[in-house]
Amino acid sequence: MAERRITALLCENSAWKAYLDAASAGAAASALGRIDPVKLPCSGKAEVGLILKILEQGSAGVLVLGCPKDNCTFIRGNYRAEKRIGAARAALREAGWDENVVRLDFISSLDGHRLLDIVGSFERYIDDHSSP
């Protein structure tokens, strides 16, 4: 089966830094090989239309990573992300898709190791559940 790409929308204040840390470690490089990272100014900028467009254009999944709850650089941006991801998942249900191809999680800039766990878990879910 062809490698299925995953788009990661990463808050530049937390997840993007964690991604750069993880990517700079040689052992981690292969684990991140299927990820297309996109730096956002805040996870709250992950708009519904953007997420759906990414899937429409062929990405197998969208992973949104924001700052830890109650520790958002923009105070409530990650709560905004939570609502927007909820709306994107609702649209996917309407379209007859598995809503879990969109996932949201929260990590700090020091959580490079957690980022690898989250990415690995999401990749396994995509491979096991979503159809090409």
């Binding site: 519904v48 239309g49 759906l52 899937l55 429409e56 649209a91 309407e94 379209a95 007859g96 898709w97």
Partner: protein, 223 residues
């Protein structure tokens, strides 16, 4: 503004069933502000339909565009080619825009993508509430700036009724304020409560919906 909400997805899908090419046309004014039918909402609906098409094997081609207003003829010029190329146009405007689209393009099938709700204001982020019923003969000047026609569920001009309890309306005590409580509180705060002693005569409802479809002619603007 005129407020609206998007129709349920299944209803839209049923409207589009059997069509080959559809243009989803947004409106850049009221329904953009109330986040129901602007450019972003058009894109979300178009993507959702395309994703559904992929999953369910539809052969529906979807184009998308948004114009400034669908209630003014000149703004349609920008989308004439797109309209001509489509089997049908799903309008994401209010009911005015949907119908006017059909008048501008009489050969085109027009379909509504929204359910139009009311004339409302943005009371907080993401929340809109009704403030005007378009009765054609404004009376808020006699009621402290609060409209009894709209804010009272029964449009009473000599209220309140017996269904007013603790400032709430019996129609929906959790969500609807008693319009007459609002009128009383406002007039009291303004020091004009004495005006409420006057009995308001029967209103002439023919200036609004009860007089049939309305029309305004402003002679100095007519060419």
């Amino acid at each position: 503004m005129i407020t609206a909400v998007r129709k349920p997805f299944d209803e839209i899908a049923a409207l589009l069933a059997g069509r080959r090419k559809v243009l989803i046309l947004g409106c850049g004014t009221c329904v953009t502000v109330c986040m129901a039918g602007g450019e972003k909402e058009v894109a979300i609906l178009a993507s959702t339909l395309r994703l559904a098409g992929k999953k369910q094997g539809w052969s529906l081609e979807i184009d998308e565009a948004t114009i400034e207003r669908q209630c003014d003829r000149e703004f349609f010029d920008a989308v004439r080619e797109k309209v001509a190329a489509a089997d049908a146009v799903l309008s994401m405007a209010c009911g005015v825009g949907v119908q006017f689209l059909g008048e501008v393009f009489p050969e085109t099938q027009v379909l509504p993508g929204l359910d139009t709700k009311f004339y409302g204001a943005t009371v907080s982020q993401g929340v809109w509430a009704e403030r005007c019923s378009g009765c054609g003969s404004c009376v808020v000047g006699e009621f402290g700036g609060v409209c009894p026609v709209t804010r009272c569920s029964k449009s009473l001009l000599n209220g309140p009724c017996g269904g007013s309890q603790k400032g709430k309306c019996e129609v929906d005590p959790e969500n609807i304020d008693c319009g007459w409580q609002l009128i009383y509180d406002r007039m009291k705060a303004l020091g004009i409560l004495d005006k409420l002693a006057a009995i308001t005569p029967v209103k002439d409802w023919s200036t609004g919906r009860h007089g049939g479809p309305g029309k305004i002619v402003k002679e100095d603007a007519v060419l």
